[in-house]
């Protein structure tokens, strides 16, 4: 593990961040496994073990993903107006630089109640390196109680239903455009409570 001493220092006085995982290595490994499983089985909700401390405004699943995936090499974008305590928590545990523009971020985290940036405004990768794209973590109200769509594509035997509630109105139109940019484009992980659900750019949607 490479420790970053530049960022990740204790916050200035005023507030104290929550602890992250009790066992950072085992915790991150189990959340990473959950994220892999979710991206390998698009549309299937996967449960993650929540970290001990969850900052205000973030769900346990989103916190787990950020603790696991974000680090000093991955600029992170959060919507303007995010709680200072949440930013302090992420700075302390992940040491990620905060991007002002979603186009510069490797991870775009959108907690409940905030509007995500358009998918096209995030990093799409480069033709030689499609992996240099952004991954969006979007909090939704529910993974089962929304308007149902049907997913097709790699990782899905025939068709898989997904009924996420709380996505922006034109999300699925944006998603079709995102799929059309393949091999470029963004990947999405929907989170809800302690569950997450993968939407890799290979997934096709039928409404």
């Amino acid at each position: 593990m490479l420790l970053s001493t530049q960022a990740g220092r204790a916050p200035a006085s005023g507030y104290v961040p929550q602890p992250g995982y009790d066992d950072p290595v085992a915790g991150a490994q189990s959340a990473f496994r959950a994220a892999l499983h979710a991206l390998a089985h698009p549309g299937t909700p996967v449960r993650t073990a929540p970290p001990r401390g969850v900052p205000p405004g973030l769900s346990p699943a989103m916190t787990a993903l950020l603790l696991t995936l974000a680090d000093a090499d991955t600029p992170l974008w959060l919507p303007p107006g995010t709680d200072r305590a949440t930013l302090g928590y992420l700075r302390f545990h992940c040491a990620s630089p905060m991007a002002d523009d979603p186009a510069e971020a490797r991870f775009v985290a959108v907690p409940a109640g905030a509007a995500p940036p358009p998918l096209a405004a995030c990093r799409q990768g480069e033709p030689a390196y499609p992996d240099r794209s952004a991954t969006l973590l979007l909090e939704v109200q529910s993974l089962t109680a929304g308007r149902a769509v049907t997913l097709r594509g790699p990782g899905i035997a025939a068709r898989a239903p997904l009924a996420a509630a709380g996505l922006p109105g034109d999300f699925w139109r944006q998603w079709r455009d995102n799929h059309g940019r393949f091999p470029l484009g963004v990947d999405v992980l929907l989170t809800c409570g302690d569950q997450l659900c993968g939407l890799p750019r290979t997934t096709l949607v039928e409404e």
């Binding site: 593990m1 420790l3 001493t5 104290v16 545990h93």
Partner: protein
Amino acid sequence: MKQQAADAAPGQAARAAWMRVLALASPAELDRACAGLGALPAHRWLRRPETGMAMVRARSGGDGGRFNLGEMTLTRCTVALEDGPVGVAYVQGRDARHAEQAALLDGLLQLPAWHERVREGVIAPLARAREERLSRQSAQDAATRVEFFTMVRGE
């Protein structure tokens, strides 16, 4: 970075000084000094001791271009005391207990109720012990010192 440090609170230099003493103390001395403190206030670990690598950077001649000198092993730890302050330690090597104790003492030193007690009971003796160790070492080294010189060849 330098500018940021200068702009920070005036207490920063004092804190940096005691963090340095704690990080450079020998684990055995630190253990003994901690044992004399008695019951500590309640605390919770924000980051348990974790060992990793950090890149040490330097400037040639102190003011040249910055270059990577090499990586060192270090252990870091962060603790939050019940009364508010956050104690931090970055310690060379892999001694988790050293990092824990240094972080706890850094937190205690930020508490007015504990500051004097820890400064006199722990920091001062540790700083003295280090100074003695260094002067003993340099006395030993001085005893075996060899002066190299070259006679100017007469032409």
